[in-house]
């Protein structure tokens, strides 16, 4: 009997090992792909999963051209929705992420974890002087860690205040340039029936955070915020508390409607696009959506973009929210470091230029771009950007995962009755100054 048990045990063990081996074998075969001497298959991951997404189309065109010029390279692309994508990447890199060669990710605080764990390939030796010469000055901050460049810029975003001129006229309100004017406009706009003065989309934490970050930008100023985000200075009450109080004040004046926590980013964009909201604080990508979204009823010529309202005597009008943070990175464990690096650099430049040409973002490259199709709103944003100097990235991409998610959650509490600003500040201090 004992002997038999031993045999069974051995059988179970070997079966488990076979299953295990089969699992490993599969993932190891995948990235290398072709058996020919020079044939290379690169597995590329990105988060533009929706077929209506302009960036997905641009990416596919760029890849097709790359394959044409490099016939020995095969590109296998995988996509997932943002939240699922982030989860997938974290899970893959808990191991060796064997099925990923090149992938889309966020720099600054988000990729730091991967850099610290030595999961990313520095690209310095693959960036030729010629390529380096085309990179826009000052656009690589979010991609460099300890003096090494782990990715090159692609395109940047820029936060503005979008306003519906028609609704402002109906309410007899003035387009705001200062915070007090914003309050005034909110009061007048809230008198309009069925119109939310400023669609917050606060059900999505990052949407709520955008509004707070816009206030903090004007209260505290870009350089102080950047010092705080990078850990040089601690998060303190000064300025940040006033910014939170301003969000609460706006909420109490009815700026975001009665229940802003009920609708997310998509709902808020739709509300603005269908003239049920007079304002929206959003990234430059919204400009493109106003023209291309087929469900929107708004006349694009009715939309104006404005610089974030300033608080007189504080901050600097040339500060802005936005910058370069998204790009393609290379897994250090890839079997084809050189080919993967070459492709990553190529796709970043191509996406940067293409995003600019279609009016979705600003290119991180001095490469000549076709400006004939830029939409008027985007040109307005470009003018504001031209007068801007120091930028602050979205806080949740600059901070580590834990404080980032606490920040987004805590900001949401400001969009409800009886918000407690002291708790808000304390939670931030605990999370960021750790």
């Amino acid at each position: 009997m004992k002997k038999l048990l031993g045999k069974i045990f051995a059988a179970v063990l070997s079966a488990t090992m076979v299953i295990g081996l089969a699992g490993c074998g599969k993932s190891e075969d995948n990235p290398s792909g072709g058996e020919g001497t020079d044939n290379v298959t690169l597995n590329v991951w990105h988060q533009w999963s929706n077929d209506t997404n302009e960036l997905k189309r641009l990416y596919d065109t760029a890849v097709a051209e790359y394959i044409k010029d490099n016939p020995h390279v095969k590109i296998e692309t995988q996509t997932l929705d943002t939240e699922a994508y982030k989860t997938k990447i974290s899970a893959e890199f808990a191991g060796n992420a064997r099925g990923i060669d090149v992938f889309y990710y966020w720099g600054a605080g988000t990729a730091r974890k991967l850099v610290n764990a030595d999961k990313l390939l520095p690209l310095d030796e693959y960036i030729t002087d010629e390529v380096r010469g085309r990179i826009l000055e000052g656009s690589t901050t979010a991609f460099s860690y300890d003096g090494k460049l782990y990715s090159v810029p692609s395109f940047s975003w820029f936060m503005t205040l979008y306003a519906n001129k028609d609704l402002f006229d109906q309410a007899g309100a003035k387009l705001p340039t200062t915070y007090d004017e914003l309050l005034e406009a909110v009061e007048k706009l809230s008198a309009l029936d069925g119109v939310t003065p400023l669609a917050a989309g606060a059900k999505d934490g990052w949407n709520a955070a955008f509004i707070y970050q816009a206030m903090a930008l004007r209260e505290v100023g870009a350089s102080s915020i950047n010092a705080m985000l990078s850990g040089e200075t601690p998060f303190s009450e000064e300025g940040y508390k006033e910014a939170a109080e301003k969000v609460v004040e706006l909420y109490n004046k009815g700026a975001f409607g009665r229940n802003p926590l009920e609708s997310g980013n998509d709902d808020a964009n739709a509300a603005f696009g269908n003239e049920r909201a007079a304002m929206r604080i959003m990234g430059s990508w919204l400009a493109n959506g106003i023209y291309t979204d087929e469900t929107a009823t708004i006349d694009p010529s009715n939309v104006v973009v404005l610089n974030m309202p300033v608080i007189p005597g504080k901050g600097d009008v040339t500060d802005y929210a936005g910058g370069f943070v998204e790009s393609f990175w290379v897994n250090k464990n890839t079997a084809h470091q050189e080919e993967a690096a070459k492709f990553a650099i190529y796709i970043n430049e191509r996406m940067g230029v293409a995003a600019y040409e279609t009016g979705t973002g600003f290119s991180g490259w001095t490469t000549e771009a076709d400006e004939s199709n830029l939409n008027p709103l985007f040109i307005e944003i470009k003018e504001i950007l031209g007068n801007s100097r120091e930028g602050v990235l979205a806080w949740d991409t600059s901070l580590d995962a834990e404080p980032a998610s606490i920040h987004n959650e805590m900001v949401q509490t400001l969009f409800a009755p009886n918000a407690n600003v002291d708790d808000f500040i304390k939670a931030h201090m605990d999370a960021i100054n750790k």
């Binding site: 038999l4 179970v12 488990t16 974890k113 610290n116 059900k203 229940n259 580590d400 995962a401």
Partner: protein
């Protein structure tokens, strides 16, 4: 050639393998992870039971999540199961259109939780939600309370569909149990002059004890590890008010990147379910013995 025991071993093997690879091994690994401070990618620092201590002493969200899940458990046991049992008894007595009702009650069970979540989000919506419209019509005053975005009502609003969804499931199990009780008992009781109510209380429920036990365990463990409906409807918000341990665990693992801490919470859910199942089994021991004597 093969002895009887080896037969057993061979036939058990496939299920055993599946259980070990997809049940036991992940359980043990999360148990191990829970003893470390680990962000899922970098180095692992052994901190003993530090994560568990943190859970109960430093994390008000976790305590709140556990209390929420206990509330859900209570609602399942004392609202969901009695309704299911009552419906099952009614149906089993032979109502007109018995099969028809059986199917209708079972429909929510087959619908995906995602769909149910979306349905109830619409019902609870402040502007166009069915509930507020009803209140507005009845009272004659505009009522635009936002059930899901207010910390006081967010969790309760998810309990309602959670309880509603599985009424049909438990009903069907009870129904099958009642149908399998021999008609002889009822006939004998009728001859003795027992009323309908007496047959229900003295025959059906005692004989149903093993089934009630099974349903109780399902209801309890299902509530303790509830995730999908709450994740869809509130995502644990606003301000972490409607978390249950499973949604909080997801948040810690995948949003905040706290693999060690999240694993500790996952492990806690497993232990919690085992403890409750054990208690229920103990409580029903006597009743079950009686049921088998009859």
């Amino acid at each position: 050639m093969l002895g009887k025991k080896s037969h057993i071993a061979i036939f058990v093997l496939p299920a055993l393998l599946l259980f070990v690879t997809f049940g036991l091994i992940p359980l043990v690994t999360s148990g191990i992870y829970s003893l470390f401070e680990y962000d899922g990618i970098g180095t692992m620092n052994f901190i003993g039971f530090g994560n568990y201590v943190r859970m109960f002493t430093e994390d008000p969200n976790f305590i709140r999540a556990v209390l929420n899940s206990l509330l859900l458990t209570g609602a399942s046991l004392f609202i969901q199961l009695p309704i299911s049992l009552a419906l099952a008894m009614l149906l089993a007595k032979g109502v007109k259109g018995e099969k028809y009702f059986r199917t209708i009650y079972f429909i929510p069970v087959v619908i995906s939780s995602m769909v149910i979540g979306q349905l109830w989000i619409k019902i609870f919506h402040s502007e166009y939600g069915l509930l507020n419209m009803l209140i507005t019509t009845v009272t004659g005053q505009t009522f635009d309370y936002s059930w899901l975005s207010n910390p006081n009502t967010a969790f309760l609003s998810t309990v309602v569909p959670a309880v509603w969804q599985y009424i049909g499931y438990h009903m069907l199990i009870f129904y099958a149990g009642i149908k399998s009780i021999s008609k002889d008992y009822y006939e004998a009781a009728m001859i003795d002059g027992a009323s309908k109510w007496q047959t229900n209380v003295k025959i059906t429920i005692p004989l149903l004890a093993p089934v009630i036990k099974t349903c109780s365990i399902f209801a309890i463990t299902g509530s303790l590890r509830a995730f999908d409906l709450i994740y869809v409807m509130t995502g644990g918000g606003p301000n972490n008010a409607s978390h249950v341990p499973a949604t909080l665990m997801y948040n810690n693992l995948f949003r905040r990147g706290l693999y060690g801490y999240g694993s500790a919470q996952a492990f806690f859910i497993v232990i919690e379910c085992l403890v409750f199942s054990y208690i229920v089994t103990k409580l029903f021991k006597k009743a079950e013995e009686n049921a088998s004597v009859l």
